[in-house]
Amino acid sequence: MDPATLPSSKTRKPNSSHIIAHLVLAGVGLILFYPLIFMILSGFFTKDEFTTTVLGFFPIPRHATLDNYLILFQGSSDTSTQTYFLNSLYRTLYSTFFAMLTSFLAGYAFARLKFKGKDALFLTLLATQMIPGTIALIPTYLQLARWPFAGGNDVFTGGTGLLDTWWVYLLGGPAINIMGMFLVKQSLEKVPFELDEAAKMDGAGTLRVIFQILLPLQMPIMAFIAITTALGTWNDFATPFFYTTSDHMQTLPSAITRLSSAAVGPGGSPNYPMIITLGLGTTVPALLIFFLFQKYIVQGLANTGIKG
């Protein structure tokens, strides 16, 4: 399914149209990449120099510094960058692990097992994907706030419930991952059933078939699920921003949100150097994940985009 290995529709020799295509793709590509170049360059400024420099398209600092990168790992006196970074990291690892586990097991159940009401259940789950997530936003807030007996609640009220605790990040994990389940089911159905039976003849148990025979064959799909979940969680600002308040609960994106003009209001001036530091901390790992695993992303997108 790798688009690169498929024959392309035109097989002419290089000509002037190729040169134009190169120019357009490279030129627009550079413009698309430009905001990130700007961000990386600004990352070498000290705070004072950044605010006093008249910014050009490619700002070069007179006194380049690596402080912005160092405080991401070491923290600094005025912000808890290290905490934000670690919160983002733990949250991402947790969500990714559970997304892979639930997608694979649920996909296996729907692809390989025969049980009553299977198709109806599958279609019902798919149909719920049509409901936009916005609608659950406030109810989720209320649910967390009114979680029975948690955070000082007498049954439903009195305390803050699970708001502003790690449960905000942990609760969703064990729930079924419907998009992932769908992709695994599609992919497993292409694996012949005889493979399972042959393995069972050789004395392999069900668990062994699932994890040692079928799972290794699903690696590209699992990688796609893992990467998209990891990037989605890593970049998610809304969950921490809406459901937590303490500084030690924030992740990199939500910490940026709290510094942004949306939070400072029209009168205030955002602390751009700090925003850039945190922005680098958010963006660079995402870019690294992308460059390391881009093959799976491109493949997976093609799979989700084309039926069957």
């Binding site: 700007f38 916005t134 998009m179 970049n235 994106p253 850039i276």
Partner: protein, 314 residues
């Protein structure tokens, strides 16, 4: 008693063997679906009900007011114009993104040297965090020390206060969304282009078709299934954008770029008008749901269980 145990075991064993698949499925799916109902199903149902109550402030007491919130939605210009803005801004974002993506996909489909690199570079904005990259746009667009205004000043033009102009605010929201979405659109179009049957091109060539005719009579009809998919998903995503609005214009100037989903967030988390936020969410949900059902209707010919589930949100 000692003899009863092995007998019981065989009975149990028979039951286990007969219902083996069902039991394994229940063990796998039961807990996952139960937990999903708790953290996703229940809040969604609750959200549908919320819109029928007047509920201001988390500590306030909900009061049943029937369709009162919905009546307000269609009477108060703040709401229906926010909905209208979501629709036309969403259409603009998705139209520009898909057209630019299609053009890029046509170019990327040519046998170019290093086309893999182009695919990566174009897709990169999609993996970045919206919060972080909108902030970069804000630095570029800063009225006093913004990069673009500094450039305008250096060539002797007057700087523009983008944030005071509705037109420019919409322009930059659309530009940001296209910046972020064009690579993904190009990749999906590209997958579509490569799924068009190669022999059709050869047949067209034999019939003497030129490049433009091949595009018109082979490529575009061949892309129809994927076009339906990408247009619907893109529209559904674009109608719900709010992050770029929140971070680039904050809905300004004077609420003229406020889209419905951003209004819902403001109602819920700034003003704590939970009933109104619930009602607006339900209206948004109905619109998105209708669009999705129309899409599924169009794809009934294909096996339904093979139809792609649409992603939530963008």
């Amino acid at each position: 008693m000692e003899r009863a145990v092995p007998f019981k075991q065989t009975k149990l064993k028979r039951f286990l063997v007969k219902r083996r698949d069902g039991l394994i499925a229940a063990a796998i799916l039961g807990p996952m679906i139960f937990w999903w109902l708790v953290v996703s199903g229940f809040p969604t149902l609750f959200g549908f009900i919320l819109g029928f109550f007047e509920w201001i402030g988390i500590q306030g007491h909900p009061k049943f007011i029937g369709l009162g919130n919905y009546a307000r939605f269609f009477e108060d210009p703040q709401y229906y114009s926010a909905l209208w803005r979501s629709v036309w801004m969403g259409a603009l974002v998705s139209g520009v993104t898909l057209l630019a993506g299609f053009g890029a996909a046509l170019l990327m489909n040519m046998p170019l040297f290093g086309k893999g690199i182009y695919r990566s570079i174009w897709y990169i904005p999609a993996v970045t965090s919206t919060v972080a990259t909108t902030q970069i746009f804000n630095i570029l667009l800063d009225p006093t020390n913004g990069v673009i205004n500094n450039f305008l000043k250096s060539i002797g033009r007057d700087p523009v206060i983008w944030q005071f102009s509705v037109g420019w605010s919409v322009f930059w929201i659309v530009m940001y969304s296209v910046w972020k979405g064009v690579g993904g659109a190009a990749l999906i179009w590209l997958a579509g282009l490569q799924s068009v049957d190669e022999s059709l091109y050869e047949a067209a060539e034999i019939d003497g078709a030129g490049r433009r005719q091949k595009l018109r009579y082979v490529t575009i009809p061949g892309l129809k299934p994927i076009a339906t998919y990408i247009v619907i998903t893109s529209l559904i995503g674009a109608i719900q954008i709010y992050e770029q609005v929140m971070f680039i214009t904050g809905g300004g100037p004077y609420g003229k770029t406020e889209v419905l989903v951003f209004r819902i967030y403001r109602d819920a988390f700034w003003d704590f008008n939970l009933g109104m936020a619930g009602a607006s969410s339900l209206i948004m949900a109905v619109i998105v749901f209708t669009a999705t059902v129309l899409y599924y209707r169009r794809s009934t010919k294909a096996d339904r269980s093979n139809t792609i589930p649409l992603k939530k949100g963008a």
